[in-house]
């Protein structure tokens, strides 16, 4: 039986990876393609960590259990819980505060490192990918020493492309050597521009995008290092590695920065790659899939039954996947939890069509991604399928509150 490794990269846009047409920033991740199934239409369950990770780890949607403010309630069944019960060793190494033990994400893991005890710098408010690699390597060595035959599920998560964008000099030089900002100046851009979501100066937005890309370079190297660790410890050939992201990042495409509650492609259409060294050649799938499909894919690889609570389906075998529409949901940034006026945002994608509903202004947008991949041309009033698409979304708006009544 093979091991399964889930490598997630926070805030990673799909279109910055070379294999998805994004230039040459990620030679290592691109090199995996010859042995991978790569999904071009994979969607996150939402546009930020709290909205996206319930899909990746629990095959459930963000608002299934009301507004949990990032807490992982017991109704969500973590993939680690299912695997641990089935006798698979489970380990997690990450540094995202939203996914820490305090919020309940530590269930089912034999080993759970969330870095919350570590002191971090305001410019790098997380443990870097290299250090995560080191900790995961230590665990892999430990696993090996204890016999090493028992299959394991290892989740490794990198935070390094998340803002503040303060990349190391050498990566900035690789992206654009003409950028001569000091670390303090980069951090000032985070404070004065990113946090204020100020897109008024196009050059500044472009500068921020380049700093972000420098972090993407950095993460590609960290991923290469991680695979070297797998090689060194003899775990490369007998492991399947699933690579994905919880959400993307906006650089002014739809009037904002960072990742708020919006549902456009740059935020919710994420990379999803299943690397299996035993594959004879790379496969590209254009099927519309969801990161909610990740947990059942992992249990499938172990030959373990999925949880009945899960809403996704296994991506493997690819031929057996039943194509269907995918959803995503979030809370609009404009509302306030304290004032109780939070509003929901939803999307639904089926075929080439994607519909977005914003409760804040009761607005609908419909895009034909085949003609309009950048979502510029709202066709909600111009098509006969609008009603069909709306009917998919309407029952999901405030569904938890209605179920409680």
């Amino acid at each position: 039986m093979k091991n399964v490794i889930l490598l997630t990269i926070d805030t990673l846009r799909k279109d910055v990876l070379g294999c998805y047409g994004g230039g040459n920033l990620t030679p290592f991740l691109d090199s995996l393609q010859e042995r991978s199934i790569r999904f071009t239409n994979a969607y996150s369950g939402g546009p930020y960590t709290q909205a996206g990770f319930p899909g990746i780890l629990t095959s459930s949607y963000y608002l299934d259990f009301g507004r949990q403010r990032g807490k992982c309630p017991p109704q969500r069944v973590l993939v680690s819980e299912v695997l641990k019960k089935a006798g698979i060793t489970t380990a997690a190494f990450h540094s995202n505060a939203y996914l820490c033990a305090f919020f309940g994400w530590n269930r089912g893991w034999d080993t759970f490192y969330d870095s919350m005890e570590a002191n971090v710098d305001e410019k790098v408010p997380y443990i870097r990918a290299r250090e995560i690699n080191r900790k995961a390597a230590g665990w892999l060595e430990f696993h090996k020493e204890r016999g090493g035959e028992k299959p394991f599920f290892l989740w490794v998560h990198y935070m390094d492309v998340h803002e503040p964008y303060v990349p190391e000099r050498k990566y900035v030089d690789e992206v654009d050597p003409s950028i001569k900002l000091s670390e303090d100046e980069m951090f000032a851009l985070f404070k004065n521009v990113v946090l204020k979501r100020d897109v008024s100066n196009k050059d500044t937005v472009e500068l921020l995008r380049k700093l972000y890309l420098a972090h993407v370079r950095e993460v590609d190297e960290a991923a290469a290092e991680f695979f070297e660790i797998l090689q060194r410890l003899g775990y490369h050939d007998n492991s399947v590695v699933i690579i994905t992201s919880d959400h993307g990042e906006e650089f002014g495409e739809h009037g904002g920065l960072s990742h708020d509650g919006k549902m456009y492609q740059e935020l919710v259409n994420v990379p999803l790659i299943i690397y299996d060294p035993s594959l004879k050649k790379g496969v590209v799938s254009e099927t519309v899939v969801s990161t909610l499909d990740v947990p059942p894919t992992i249990t499938h690889l172990f030959g373990v039954a999925p949880s009945g609570a899960w809403q996704g389906q296994s991506l493997l075998p690819l031929e057996a996947y039943q194509p269907r529409g995918v959803y995503g949901e979030s809370i609009d940034k404009q509302g306030s939890h304290e004032k109780g006026d939070e509003k929901e945002v939803h999307f639904y994608r089926e075929g080439e069509l994607k519909i977005i509903y914003r409760e804040t202004d009761d607005s609908w947008e419909l895009y034909d991604l085949g003609d309009d991949p950048e979502e510029r041309n709202n066709i909600v009033d111009k098509t006969t399928v609008t009603e069909y698409m709306m009917k998919k979304v309407i029952p999901r708006v405030r569904r938890y509150e209605r179920q409680q009544q």
Partner: protein
Amino acid sequence: MPNGKPLSKQRIEELETYIHISQNIVREAYRQFDPKDIRLVWSGHKDSTLTLWIWRETCKKYGFEMPRAVTIDEGDTFEEAEEFLAKMSKEWGIQLDVAKNEDVLRACNYTLGADVWIKDLNERNREEIKRIGFGDLERFPFEAESFIGNHLMKSVALNVYLEENDVKVIVQGLRWDEQPVRSDDPYFEKVEAQYLQPAQVRIRPILHIKERALWDIYHHWKLPFVSLYAQGYRSLGAKTTTQKMSDLPAWEQDLENTVERAGRRQDKEAAMARLRALGYM
């Protein structure tokens, strides 16, 4: 032995050296202080029990008088730890006091999670809440390890005890590898008096003993410990907010590569600070 392997002769000598270093710190304490002024803070958990054992062995060896010990009852403790304290204090002849913030417990009707109205608290507790920056609050839910709960139920309970009993020196079972914030704590630390906080000297005899060495000492010298560690708890805090890390006994877990306190309630403030630094909230 942990992991079923007997310790090598070299390892045993290493452990003896660690204990020797700790015993020298105890001897230094007796050169400087009167045992009547000293209290060992003893939760019954693994670190403070090792500290107490080493202290007691040193007393036996050098004929010192054993000081009293004090345990902090935060209102949310494991029964197993309470029973362990009762049993071992009797067996080892330890005079054990209890420091407890009764006023807070009374205000929430001895119920975890129930609201404590700040107007129902005594002046000292009200002043303490103001001191830590929550002066504008009307009430808070009683949780032993929330920011306010931790302060009132642990720090204040202990400080009041120290004041009332005129204690000048406390002995703490802290270890350098327990968490990064401890990594440069000194063996002897003089803390000046501050508003609402008595002057005190803190002695930490087992700082250098790492988690692996601690368990090796427990097994080699057959020290008693709370059964929860055998069930997979690595680090014990308040009962309702401490989780098992694994079903493996603590000493069989991957001590070197994982965080000892990961099963403990993560400080919400720390999580919030991280999220703010990432640009949220």
